[in-house]
Structures are given as structure tokens and as C-alpha cells.
Symmetry: C5
Subunit: 370 residues, 5 copies
Amino acid sequence: MSKKKSVRGMARKALTSIPFVQTPRKNTGLPPGTLVFTGNKKIEEAKVSICRYNAEKFVGEGLTLSDVYGAEAGIITWVDVRGLHEVELVEEIGRGFHIHPLILEDILDVSQRPKFEEYKEGYFCILRDYQFDPGKLEIRPEQVAIYVNTGQGFVVSFQEAESDLLKDVRSRLEMGKGKIRMRGADYLSYALMDRIVDNYFFLLDDMGVKLEDIENEVLASASSAIRKDIHKMKRELHGMRRSISPLREAINMMIKSEVAGITSTTAIYLRDLYDHTVQALDLTETFRENINSLNDLYLSELSFRMNKVMQVLTIVATIFIPLTFIVGVYGMNFDHMPELHWRYGYPVVWTIMMGCAILMLFYFRRRDWL
Amino acid sequence: MSKKKSVRGMARKALTSIPFVQTPRKNTGLPPGTLVFTGNKKIEEAKVSICRYNAEKFVGEGLTLSDVYGAEAGIITWVDVRGLHEVELVEEIGRGFHIHPLILEDILDVSQRPKFEEYKEGYFCILRDYQFDPGKLEIRPEQVAIYVNTGQGFVVSFQEAESDLLKDVRSRLEMGKGKIRMRGADYLSYALMDRIVDNYFFLLDDMGVKLEDIENEVLASASSAIRKDIHKMKRELHGMRRSISPLREAINMMIKSEVAGITSTTAIYLRDLYDHTVQALDLTETFRENINSLNDLYLSELSFRMNKVMQVLTIVATIFIPLTFIVGVYGMNFDHMPELHWRYGYPVVWTIMMGCAILMLFYFRRRDWL
Amino acid sequence: MSKKKSVRGMARKALTSIPFVQTPRKNTGLPPGTLVFTGNKKIEEAKVSICRYNAEKFVGEGLTLSDVYGAEAGIITWVDVRGLHEVELVEEIGRGFHIHPLILEDILDVSQRPKFEEYKEGYFCILRDYQFDPGKLEIRPEQVAIYVNTGQGFVVSFQEAESDLLKDVRSRLEMGKGKIRMRGADYLSYALMDRIVDNYFFLLDDMGVKLEDIENEVLASASSAIRKDIHKMKRELHGMRRSISPLREAINMMIKSEVAGITSTTAIYLRDLYDHTVQALDLTETFRENINSLNDLYLSELSFRMNKVMQVLTIVATIFIPLTFIVGVYGMNFDHMPELHWRYGYPVVWTIMMGCAILMLFYFRRRDWL
Amino acid sequence: MSKKKSVRGMARKALTSIPFVQTPRKNTGLPPGTLVFTGNKKIEEAKVSICRYNAEKFVGEGLTLSDVYGAEAGIITWVDVRGLHEVELVEEIGRGFHIHPLILEDILDVSQRPKFEEYKEGYFCILRDYQFDPGKLEIRPEQVAIYVNTGQGFVVSFQEAESDLLKDVRSRLEMGKGKIRMRGADYLSYALMDRIVDNYFFLLDDMGVKLEDIENEVLASASSAIRKDIHKMKRELHGMRRSISPLREAINMMIKSEVAGITSTTAIYLRDLYDHTVQALDLTETFRENINSLNDLYLSELSFRMNKVMQVLTIVATIFIPLTFIVGVYGMNFDHMPELHWRYGYPVVWTIMMGCAILMLFYFRRRDWL
Amino acid sequence: MSKKKSVRGMARKALTSIPFVQTPRKNTGLPPGTLVFTGNKKIEEAKVSICRYNAEKFVGEGLTLSDVYGAEAGIITWVDVRGLHEVELVEEIGRGFHIHPLILEDILDVSQRPKFEEYKEGYFCILRDYQFDPGKLEIRPEQVAIYVNTGQGFVVSFQEAESDLLKDVRSRLEMGKGKIRMRGADYLSYALMDRIVDNYFFLLDDMGVKLEDIENEVLASASSAIRKDIHKMKRELHGMRRSISPLREAINMMIKSEVAGITSTTAIYLRDLYDHTVQALDLTETFRENINSLNDLYLSELSFRMNKVMQVLTIVATIFIPLTFIVGVYGMNFDHMPELHWRYGYPVVWTIMMGCAILMLFYFRRRDWL
């Protein structure tokens, strides 16, 4: 067993440097339903932010989990959990809000594909947030899970790390900006998802900048490093697509969901979110085709330069090798070499050599090598 | 925040030089429904052209927005807005014609995919017009949004820049040419869309000419510049396809729409427009396959030339290097080299060298290198 | 406007040499329904052949258009128009047979995709005939439009040029061969389409022969010309596929058509025609994969030859460059070089050089370069 | 006409050496329903084997065609025709068993895609048998057509050549092995098809062996011949896929057929046959991906070897060209060259040259070229 | 026949070294329903483990096959067979549990695609377990067949070899861990399948590690061996995909199955299993795209290195070949060469040569070759 574990350790180490290769599932081989966190601990201590609101008031401080386990009519409760390595906390919240064990398992398994599942009491969805590191050309994915009990007005969101992403939504709630306070739990979950998808565009903008850099570098220098950048970029974009594509399906299912208690008003906004997701997917595809075309460009750049290098070599060698032969001839020590004794032998040889060289140059010019 | 903004600025700068990479969404991260113009200001001042007509009369001048906010039975009103950076103007028109805020947001977000949406009172569609710059090999997209209230006979079109494109339609209206004056708002919106799609063929013709130029240049010189042109052309054609493909779907939805109030007569014309869009998409695909094939041709051209260059080098080197060796031998200064003292040593060496050279030439001819 | 026209002229000129790039649509920008011929005038004067027949009799001469505008019970009328540049003629025929203006527009726009449209009174279909020029490796497409009024027994076919293609059908009609005289207008239209699709197989046979030639040439010489042939062949085959594929759909719609008045007997034959079209498409696909594989083969042929060339150069240079160095050493003029005065210095040097050369040859043989 | 024929002759000659390019359709241009054999005569004389059986008895000899044209209750009649060039024979059998002329045309046109067609009285299906020639890397397809009249218990099979393939089924019938004698005509037709599909696995095994050979050769020698083998293999596998894929569809239609009189017991076996066909298709796809990957491997092998060749050349040239320059310097005949008269000039030069060479070798070792 | 057999033997030998090329079907050509084991004997003696359990008790030892042929109400019987070469054993078990002969044939034919089939009494499914050998880069597939009689509570599993895989499930049963003892036969079969699919993630982790190794090696050395590793990896991943993809379909059919007696509770778990399978497929696809991108990277690495090698050669040759020519000139033995007698001829020549060399170096630096 210990041997297996060390192999697994290697795998994990290796895989974390491959973005989008989901971290190895530590729960593999265990009976289904066992709660195991499959990710890496990203923050020291798990944090829980709780707030309750309706159109009139917003309570954002001083609430504990046990305060909010019971529903209050017309009040929306949002519990935001950051840090999933404290499995007991997740388990407790699960019990408090009567979340199904299979959902809890999915929340803790941070290698899930984006998905939407509807239940009698509400729905559950998983999506991914990304951080792009333009230096290392790496995208760091982070799983966000949102559980919504539409009937009782509960929204519970789970993130792996301390992230500022959902703070915008909280401040909009606090300040009562927009219509978010008038709407139900379904609209809150939409707002959270919208915030995450919006972030994709920041990411894609950064990737677009990097892509532009790569294009310029390919045309300017075709250096060795750019080759690796192209490879990494391909990998990242592939990962993006693999993740946004199921998200689109999930949102589509969400719009069409009849059981989950999503109001038609929110559905209109979800349709807008769907459009944004399609747009992000479209942009990813465009980038993918661009990077593939850049790879072709890089390859033809290399071939083109090779041609240029070979032409230089060929021109120099083709001109001087025959001339070196000629001077070699008159460096021979034969007793009987009449030319050596001619009065104008030396200048004649020079003339012949010049003639050869000029002929060659003409030949190369005609071939467009000069 | 300011740091983030400067990064965004970079992104925008970078992206605008990548055609079809939609300009970064300035509204990212804002609550949904906020009206923000996401494009670049293309003209100094926004312009509004208003006209009203029915089969008998046409009023094209002297109308203000407030004159036309009320519907008149049997009269079609067309308001054409050019320049979207004046957000307040768009907002005011939105209020005047009771356009839904989400539609207004889409109108101002100029990075939308072509789409069609039907409403109780009418429909809304987005499409793209293109300008091709054969010199820079760039396609400049511009978003056109058309809002139609079929019941009240309102057509409101929104363009980013001052464009001559829709003037043709206006002059046809003015002169009463064709059946356009007899028909309703739905036919007018069809006429506008038809004008834009027709323009694609001009664009595709120009691209076809450029493609032909590239093909000729690949075969003639396979220069360095052509490589970049191929790359750009690929990118543009990919962008075209990405945009025409959803337009086709949008027109299809428009034909099948039951709520939007499109008459069956107009639907026949829309079917014709659908055919044109498919034809444009087909042509784009054909061009794409051609440019891919041209890339292959370019690569094999480079390989072929490299072969030719190497053959020249090899022939010259293979003939003269052994000869240079031979003359080197008789340039040695050994005391005892009997050949040097032979009477016919020098001509014998020449004969041997000639023989070698001729053998080599035969060998190369047999190998088809000469 | 005149500037625009000249650009268009260029486009047209350029595009006609790209097969399958449909000739620029001269009607672009005009109001829908305007009749404009978009092709190039291919014959001097338009010709009209008219015939009428039923199972008993066949009248093929002496009929004018005005004679046949009225239907006769049980009599089939076939009007074959060759040459579409005389727009008035087409317009007149359109009026005579009550053909819808949109159909007439499609007939004159020779850049249509193959399609089938059903109407109350009958149907209309467009397909393409091809001529293959093996010398130039060009396929010249020609549009054929067939309008059928099943109720009244009218078949009107429109071709761009004087073509022998449909003469076979006419002679079969005249001689009463087969069942063609017993059947209705729908069978006649089937017979015309069948004749055109049959012709694809002649074309594909010729292309197969050319493909075989290309394969042989790739393996034999991998010359420069073959590269361009591969590119052209790809382009042609792509064009073929783009055109046969919608034809298949059109025939499928024709079989399933319920309004158009196609009898179930003819439907059986149409199913046969559908099979042939699928077969032609299949063959086109097979050829496409073959030509792609031939392109790969050509590229690896080039690489392989480059390897061979480089091996020759390397062998020669690697053997003689060190030897030339050795003889150079003993060509130096130092006062104190003891070897030069040895009795057997010269033969010893020869022996060493031979040894080097033989060692090299062994090395190359071991590396399989010889 | 004679000119056309000779061209066609060329086409046929050319195409027969391209496997899967179906032989040119001699019936092209003829009225539909004309019976023409489109293949090449493969055996001298057509042969007909007739047998009749039920669970109790089997009569395999002494039957003539006219004996079996009439059905007998509970008796299955199997007529196996080998050799289709005797069109009259096929026509006669067609009349005897009341086979529709369009079916007869399909039987004689040996370039059909595999298909299944159901009729009131039974069904008709076409499939392909293959012979693989590992030496020439050619697959020789042969069309097998099976006509079944389920009501009357007739099975008529048509093969192009004398083949042992269906003898197994006959011997199983004769010996009463398995359940074949208890079942009806539909089971017999299944047994024939099963025998043919089973044969695909023999073929695919042989191709797998050849694929393995190619892989070994690519890694060992990357010779010129292997390049052509890869190309041929690609072509063959493509042809296989093109043919098995419609067969799968045909069998699927057969299973779902409601009119054709296929019993549910036989349908179970057909489902098994369907699984086998999918398996064969899967294997073909696997082989296709393998051969494509082998092509990539071959190309990188060539590039890798080129690198090695160039490294050898570069090492030798880079070491000896500067040395040759140095010895050349001291071969000059200037009157005033002090070094020449130094006591240790010669060994000093040798030392310098050795130093240069050793430095170079270090440099190459650091670059991993040695 | 014996000749055929030896060919088949070759095929088998060859194919077993191609992973995923299913071993040749020994049953090819035999009447359907004949029981033949198509795999290779992997263990000496077949083993059968039998256990019976319900929520209260677990009997795992001392049971013989004949003890468990009869069902007991509320008791689940699991028979696990390891080793399929003992065909009689499988036959006997088949008779004992009334398993249909066609199922038995599928169990013994170890080259089946994963599938699910439902029957009146229960269902049957086939899936694959894999062992990955990172050293040889080989995946060894092993077929697992599971037959379930839901009504009578029988689960019979068949494996080719002695494998520890299903022991986990047995120990969970024995120890009564999880809910497995409370559930029916359908849950047991789910648990077995879940265990196998879980194992895919171990395999994929190992492949991810290997992929990472390949990536590092490509960037570090681009050696010859890595080329073959890429090829093998491609083949393995392709094989994985070909097998997981039908498994996904099988599980989907299982979830939707209405006849097979799968309870809705188990169906929830099956949905989870379906998600895992999709995830595994996703990962396989990601790896496939990565390996393809690595192949591109390898090719451009080779081209890049070639460029570097050629630059070195060209720099050295271009500098020294002209210099060698110059020194050759003054090595000539003409009687009249005034320069030779100049006082400063020798240093002047050196100065000229230095100048040439420095110019060249400047030129190369400007071209970025140094």
C-alpha cells in the first residue's frame, strides 16, 4: 500500500504542473459516498461567510451556521465556504442544510466537470474559476460548487481557496445595488455564476495579449522558447474548452429545468449568461485556431530560415570551392608545369577565377538566391 | 483597480489588432443590465436618420425623435442610429420605443454573436458588417443591431460607425423602387439584412482576388511575406465563418418564428436570404480549404527549394573536394615523390581529375540532379 | 461607382480561374427579385428546343414557344433553353409558363447551390454539370435548372451553354426507347437529372486516371509541377464535394416531397438516383483522402531525397576534407619538417590516407548510408 | 464514340490498380433499368449451385434451375450464382424468381455500396468480400448480392468469382451441423452474411501483421519502400472503412425491418452480426489511426536521421576546415614568413591544431552531438 | 488448413504486441453459438470464488457451485470466475444459472467492445480492466463480464486472469462496510463496475506521469527513443478511448434500462459512475491532445536543432573557405607572383584575412546566428 501511495504522490506532483489534468482522485477505490477532499489544501483555515437579506434589510455580520439552518419566509440566506480541506465542516453544513451525501461528495471532489443537477428542493451546480499566470503560461483552475434550496431560500457556495471573486456580489447585496435584493435564491445563484463567467473574459483578454506576443515573437525571432510557449498555450486553451463546453450544457439544462424552482425572470438572465458562455467558448475556439495557425507559421518560419542559411552556405561554398581547386592546381610541385613559367600566368589565373566567381553570382541572382 | 485597468488597456490595444477577437467587454464584472458601450468610438458625433412611409408617401426630412415615438396606423417608421458611444441617446431611444433594457445592453455590447430574439411586440436581431482591407489583409467587423416592433411599425437600426451601407435601402424607399413601400416593418428589416449579407459577397470577392494573389506568389517566389499573409488570411476566414454561421441560425429562427409577427410573404424573402447566407458560408469554407491547401503548398515549396539548394551544394562540393585533395597531394613537399619528376605527370593528373569530374556528372545525371 | 465596377471586374477575372469559386454575383446590392444574369456569356445566341410527346406520338420540330404555353391533357411539353445571357427570353418564358419571379432570379444566378424547392403546381431544382480538363486540371461547372409543372405536364430546363448532355434524353424520347414516353413530367425531370449525375462518373473516372498519374509521378520524380497538380486536384475535389453534397440533400427532399406531385413510380427511380449521388460523393471522398495521402507521400518523398542528397555530400566531404588536411600539412614550407625527408614518407602518407578513407567507408556502411 | 471508349478503357486499366476505386460504370449514360455487367470477367464460365433443404432432408445435387422456380411449403431453396458476366443467366434467374429489374441491375453493377432494401416479398442486400494480398498490399473487393424471398423460402446469392467462402455454409447445411437446417430463409441469408463478415477478421489479422511489419521497418530502416507501403495501407484501410460503414447501417436496417419477414430469432443473430461489424469497423479505425501515427513516426524518423547526418558533416567540416586553413597558411610561398624558419615552428603548428580540434570536440560534446 | 493456421499463429503473435488490437478471434468461421475461448491462457487453473450474503450474514467459504444454483429469497449470490480457458467450467456455470448460450459466447470471446444487454431475467455487461506498464509503455487490457439475474439475486463475474481488483469489493462485503450488504444484486454489479472504472484513474495518473516525462525529455534532448514513446503513447490512448467510449454508452443504457430490474437507488449510483466514465474519457481526450501537441513540439524541436547545426556549419565554412582560398593563392608556384616578394606581403595577407573574418562575424551577428 505504501508503495502505491508513493507512486500516487509522484503522479500528483507531476500532474499539478499539467494544468487541467485534474488532481488524482484520492477517493479512488473507496466505497461510493465516502467524503474525501481530493484537492490540495490551498488556505490555512476554512472560512465561512454568512449573510441573510431581503428587499428591506441585509444582515452580513454576527451570524453563525446554527443561526441560519432554519429557513425564514421571504429571507434569503447565503453561506459561502472557502477552503474544503476541513471535511468535517462541509459535513456539518451538509447536515444542517439537509444536503444529500452524493452532493457533498461532489463538492469535495474538486476534479468534477461543470454540471447542473436538479432536485425536488432545488438544484446544485459546479463550475470553474480560472487564474491565468502569463509568466508561466499556466491557468490555475479552481472549482466552485453552488447548492441552492429554492423553497427555503438557501444558497450555499463552496470554493477551494480564499478568493475575491464573489466579494463583488456580496458588496452589491450589501449596498442594495441593482435588483439583486428584490430577487430570490435562484437570482443570487445566477449572480454568483455570472460573476465567475465574467471573469473568463478577463482571462481570455490576458490570453489574447499573450497570443499577440507569441505571434510577434514567431515573426521576429522564432526562438526556441516560443516553441514551448505555443505548446503550453495549446494545452491551456484545450483545457479551457473542455471545461466551458460542459458549463454551457449545464446552463442550458438550468434554463430548461422545471423542477428546480427557477423563476422565469431569472431564466431570462440565465439566457444572457448562456450567451456569454457561448461567447467565451467561441473566443476560446478562435484562440485555439490562432495558436494552431501560429504553430504552422512557426514551422514554416523555421523551414524558411533553414533555406536562407543553406543558401548562404551554398553560395559561399559554390564560389570558393572551385577557386580553391584552381589555386591548388598551381600549388602542385610537378617539374613540368609550363603555365607556372608563363610571364602572365598569375594574372591569367586571377582573371579566370574572377570570371568563375562572377558567373556563379549571376547564376545565383537568376535563381533569386541573392 | 488602476493596475487592473492598465492591463485591460493593453489587452484592448493588443486585441484590436487581432481582427475578430472581440474588443474586451468593458462591462465585465458589472451587475447585469448596466448600459455600457464596449466598442471604440468610431465617429465624432452620433447621427440619427428618421423616415416614415407608407405605399403613398415618404417623409424623410424634418422629423425628430419625439415626433415618431407614437405609432400611426399603416405607417412604417425607420430610425437609423449611427454611433453608439453616446449611451444616453441610445437610452433615450430605448425609452421612447419601449425597448427592453437587456436589448439595449446587447445593442451597446458590440462583441455579440449574430442572433435573433423574438418578443411579444416584435423581434431583435444582431448581425455584422465587414470591411476588408486587402493591403493589411484585415477584416474590420462592425455590429449592426435591428429592433423591430411589428405591431406598431417601428424599425430601429443601430450602427457603430457612419456607413453608406444602408443608404441604398433608404434611396429605394425614397424612390419607391421595388415593392419595399408596399410592405411592412418586417420587410424593411429584411431589406436591411439583405443589404448587409449582399455586402459579404463583395468582401468575399476581394478575398478571392487576394487568395489568387497569394497562390501566384507561393508558386512564384515563396517569399517570407507570403507566409504571414497565409496566416492572416486563415485568421480572417476563420473569423468570417465564426460570424456567418450563427447568422445562418438566426435567420433560420427568424423564418420559423411564430410570435414575432413576420408575414409569410416576408418569410419567402427571408428564405432567399437564408440561401445567400449559406452560399456565403460555403464560399468561406471553400476559401478556408484553399488557404489550408496553399499552406501545404508553401511548405512543400520550401522543402522542394531546399532540395534544389542542397543539390547544387552537393554537386559542387562532391566534384571539387576530391579534386582539391588530388592537387593537394602533389603540392606536398616530400623529397621523394617520383610522380613529380615524370615527364607527363602534370597532364596525367589533369586527365585523372577530368575523368573523376565526368564520372561524377554522370552519376548526378543518373540521379536526376542535373 | 465606376471604381467599384473595375474592382469587381478584377475579381471576376481572378475568380474565373479559381474553379468553384462562384462567379461574382452581379446582382449584389440590387433589390430582391431583379432579374440579372450573373454568369459569363458562353454561347453567341440563346437556343430553345421544344418538344411535346405522349406514349403514342412525339413532336420535336416546328413548335414555337407560344404554341406550348397552353397545357394539353396527357401531353408532356419539354422546353430546353441553352444560354441565359438573353434575360428577356428567360423573362418571357417565365411569363408564359407562370414561373414565379424568385425562381427566375435563381435560374439566372448561376452561382446557386444545388437545391430542390416544391410549389403548389410542381417543383424546381438546380444542379450542376461538370466538364473536366485533365490538361489544366480544371473542372468547369455549369448550372442546370429544371422547372416542372407536374399538373400541366411542363418541363423547362435551363442551361448556360450549348451542351450535348441532354441530347441523349431527347433521342431516347424520339426513338421511344425505354419507358420514358409512358411516364409523366416528373419522370422526364428524373431522366434529365439522371443523365447529369451519370456524367459525374465519367468525370470521376477521368479524375481517377489523373490521380493515378500523380501517384506515379510522385513516386518517380517528385518534380515541382506535381506539387501544383496536387494542390489543384485538392481544390477541384473539394469543389465537387461542396456541390454533390447539397444535391444529395435535394434529391432526398424530392423523394420525400408530398406536394410536388411526384409519382411513387418515379420516386423509386429517384431513390436509385439518390444511391448514385451517394456513390459519387463516396468516390469524391475517396479521391480526397487519396490526394491528401499523396500530399503526405510527396512531402516524405522530398524529405527522403533530401536525406539521400545530404548523405552523398556528407560521405564525400567527410572522407576528403580530413585527407585534404593531411596533404595540406605536408605542403607546408617549414624548414624543419623531418617527415619530408624520410625515404618512405610519401608512401606512408598515402597508406595513412587510404586507411582513413577505408575506416570512413566502414563507418558509413555500418550506418547504412552506403 | 470510339474515342470515348478508349479513354474509358484507360480509366478502367488505371482504376483497377487503385483498390476500392470502383471500376467504371459501363452502364453510365444508358436508360435506367438496362442490364449491364460493370465488372471484369473473373472466371471463365458462370456456375450455379442449387440446393433445397428442410429440417429432415437436404438435396444438393441433380437440381436444375427450372426445378426450383416453384416454391414448396416448408422447403428452403438456395441458388448460388458465381460469375456475373453471363448477363442472360442472371436475367433468366431474375425472371424465374420474379426478381425486380432494378434489383437485377444492382446485382450486375458491382460497384454498389453495401445496402439493404426491403420489399413486400422479402429483401435484398449487397455486401463485400475482401481478399488481401500482403505482398502487393492490395485488397481485392468482390461484391456479393443476396436476394431473399422469405415467403416462398428462396435465397439467391450472386458472386463475381469462384469463391470458397460460402462453401462452409453449404457443408454445414449438408451435415446438418448447428441449427441452420431448422431455420428459415432469413437465417440462411444471415449465415451467408455472417460468413462474409467473419472473413473480415482474417483480413484484418493479416493487415495487423503487415502493420506490425511496417512499424518495425519504420523504426529499423525508414527505407524508401516503407513510405509507399504506408501510403497503400492508408488507402486500403480507407476503402475498408468506406465499405464496412454502410454495411453496419444495412444490418441495422435489416434488424429493424418490419416488412421483410425476418423472424425475431434471426434478429437476435443479426444483432450479433451487427456487433461483429461494429467490431470490424472499430479495428479498421484503430488500424487507420495506427497507420497515421506511423506516418508521423516515419516523418520524424527522417528528420531525426537528417539531423544525425548533418551533425556528422558539421563535426567533420568544423574541425578540419579551420585546420586546413592553418596548414594552407604555412604552404604559402612568401619570401618573408619568419615562422617557417623557426626551429620548432612545425611542432608548434601541430600543437595549435590539436588544441583547436580538442576544443571543437569539447564544444560538440557539450552540445550533445557526440 | 494447416497453412492457414500457421498464418493465424503469426497474426496472433504479432497482434499481442500491439495493445488493443484484439487477439484474433479463434471462433471466426464457426457456426454462431459455438463456445470457443478467443484469448490467451493467462493463469494455470481457473478459480471460482463463491459467496452468499444478505444484510445480516455473509457466507464466503465452503460453498460449491451446486450449492448456489438454486435461488434463496433475499439472499444475494456472487460467483466470481477467474480464468476462461476452461470452457467446460463456463459451460457448466452457464447451465447452472440458465445463462443464454449467446451470452456465454460473448463471455468467452475476450475481444468484445464494452456493452450492456438487458434480458427478461436481468442483464449482462462487458467492460475492460487495464494494467499499465510504464516501462514498456503498454496497456494490457483484460475483459470482465458480469451477468446479473436480478430476480433471483445472482451475480456471476468472469475475468480472464487472477486479479486483485474485485477483492476490495469482497472485503467490503465481508466486513459489512458501507451500504453494500443492504442492497440487491444490481448494487453489487454496480460496485464491481465502479471498482473497475475507479482503477482507470490510477492508470490515467500513471499515464499522466509518463506524459510529463515525455514532455520533459522532448524539451531536454529530443532523442530517438522519445519518438517511439510518443507513437506508443498515442496508440495506447487511442485504445483507451475506443474502449471507454462504448462503456459510457453501456452505462447510459443501463441507467435507462426498464426491463433489467435495476432499482432507482442503484440508478443514482450508476449516474455517478456515468459521470466518472465521462471524466475518464475527458482525461483520455486531454492526454490525446497533449500527446499530439508533444509530437508537434518534437518535430519543431528537430527542425530547430537542424537549424542550429546548419548555422554552425555555415558560420565555420563561410569564414574559413574563403580564407583557405586566399592562402591557396599564395601557395601557387608561379614564377612571377610579385606579392610573394613584397617585404610585408605576409602580414598584409593576414590583415586582409582577419578583416574578412571579422566582416563575416558581423554579418552573422546581424542575422542573429551568433
